[in-house]
């Protein structure tokens, strides 16, 4: 029963991971690790918000992956983790991904949970284990930064990514 409860969330987890990590294989590895951990820890889940629980597991796995690569999560250069994927097609997609990768990982998480998962500030706060105030400040900084990156991009070839 456990796994069948989780399966319906796989598409959402993949969508979020794809945007967070940037390349398909890296994202699916993150999803895979998250699912395995969720199944192992399922006895710890108490009936409640299963989505928030799964995304919080993904957050922990993601943070551990960043640590394993010795890249501090608060560093503003995440291009290293998520080199624009060759599998992504279309110049604008690459621009968006590059702009996203220019955000600090912690800003990217908040921004994507709100934009893709329609999470409320309270959901994000619970999922990432951070105070609401932090959710809001990361969101506004993340939006601002992404906006600036995208506004700078339009149609110019060989543009430079925010560093």
């Amino acid at each position: 029963m456990d796994y069948d409860l989780i399966v319906p969330y796989i598409p959402n987890l993949r969508r979020y991971a794809r945007a967070l990590v940037g390349d398909r294989d890296g994202a699916d590895d993150l999803v895979q690790d998250t699912l395995e951990r969720a199944v192992r820890k399922f006895h710890l889940w108490r009936p409640g918000d299963l989505r928030a629980w799964l995304f919080s597991i993904m957050h922990n796995v993601f943070v551990n992956q960043l640590k394993a690569r010795r890249i501090p999560t608060d560093m503003e250069i995440d291009e290293l983790i998520a080199a624009p994927a060759s599998s992504v097609s279309g110049e604008d997609v690459r621009d968006l991904q590059r702009a996203l990768n220019g955000l600090a990982a912690e800003q990217r998480e908040v921004l994507l949970l709100v934009a893709l998962e329609d999470m409320s500030y309270a959901d994000v706060s619970r999922t990432l284990g951070i105070p609401m105030g932090t959710v809001m400040s990361r969101l506004s900084r993340g939006r601002e930064r992404l906006r600036r990156a995208l506004d700078r991009e339009p149609a110019k070839a060989g543009l430079k990514v925010v560093s």
Binding site: M1, Y3, D4, R15, A19, Q32, D49, L96, L146, R147
Partner: protein
């Protein structure tokens, strides 16, 4: 003024990443399960075929709101049943409220519990009717109510599943659907609706009082 305001940013992100939702799920995500799941799965495949049938339509279309908050299995099933039938325009129920006596007798007999239909007129909701649904351990009854504005509520009732423990009043959200549920020795009830928590609590309290004298 940036052309990328908050709503546009969101739309841009959704446009680029929503297609991931409909990509086929890689097989490895199904296969690497602990061994005990193999046994559970064999049983599930048979028993839950119908339940999955309910879940899949929610999963497939990218336009549909993504499945969100989970809940206990019972509440989750109730929320899904609500999501499937509440939007029905022409066939929201199998038996409508004009045949209320028949409806109660029929569903009580099939579910195996002496069901009662709570009156929610004081809350502004009138009974539309009910239907029979498949559940993991037998038939389930769903009663549907509607208010003057067309907002719908469903009451989901089944015999308690042996695997699920008894529980007092609980609240969960499954996407836009809020669910109040309680499971006693005789029957499990879940009241679902796209309502705020305070409103649903008030109505659920009324339902509870009428069902559990």
């Amino acid at each position: 003024m940036s052309e990328h305001d908050d709503a546009r940013l969101k739309a841009l992100l959704k446009k680029h990443f929503d297609p991931v939702v409909t990509e086929p799920i890689p097989a490895r995500m199904y296969l690497r399960r602990p061994p005990w799941i193999g046994y559970a799965r064999a049983a599930m495949l048979v028993a839950a075929g119908l339940a999955m049938g309910l879940a899949l339509p929610l999963l497939r279309p990218p336009a549909a709101p993504a499945l969100s908050a989970g809940g206990a299995p019972f509440a989750l099933r109730a929320a899904r049943a609500h999501a499937v039938y509440a939007p029905e325009v022409r066939h929201p129920v199998e038996v409508d409220a004009t045949q209320q006596d028949h409806l109660v007798k029929w569903l009580s007999k099939r579910v195996g519990v002496a069901l009662k239909i709570p009156v929610l007129a004081a809350e502004g909701f009138e009974l539309l009717g009910g239907r029979l649904l498949p559940g993991p351990e037998g038939p389930v009854a769903q009663f549907m109510y509607q208010d003057g504005a067309g907002k719908r509520l469903t009451l989901y009732a089944s015999k308690p599943n042996r695997a699920e423990s008894l529980t007092a009043f609980r609240f969960v959200r499954e996407g836009p659907v809020s669910v109040f549920y309680w499971i006693d020795r005789e029957c499990g009830y879940a009241l679902s609706g796209e309502l705020d928590r305070a409103t649903l609590t008030r109505i659920a309290t009324s339902v509870y009082k009428q069902l559990e004298p």
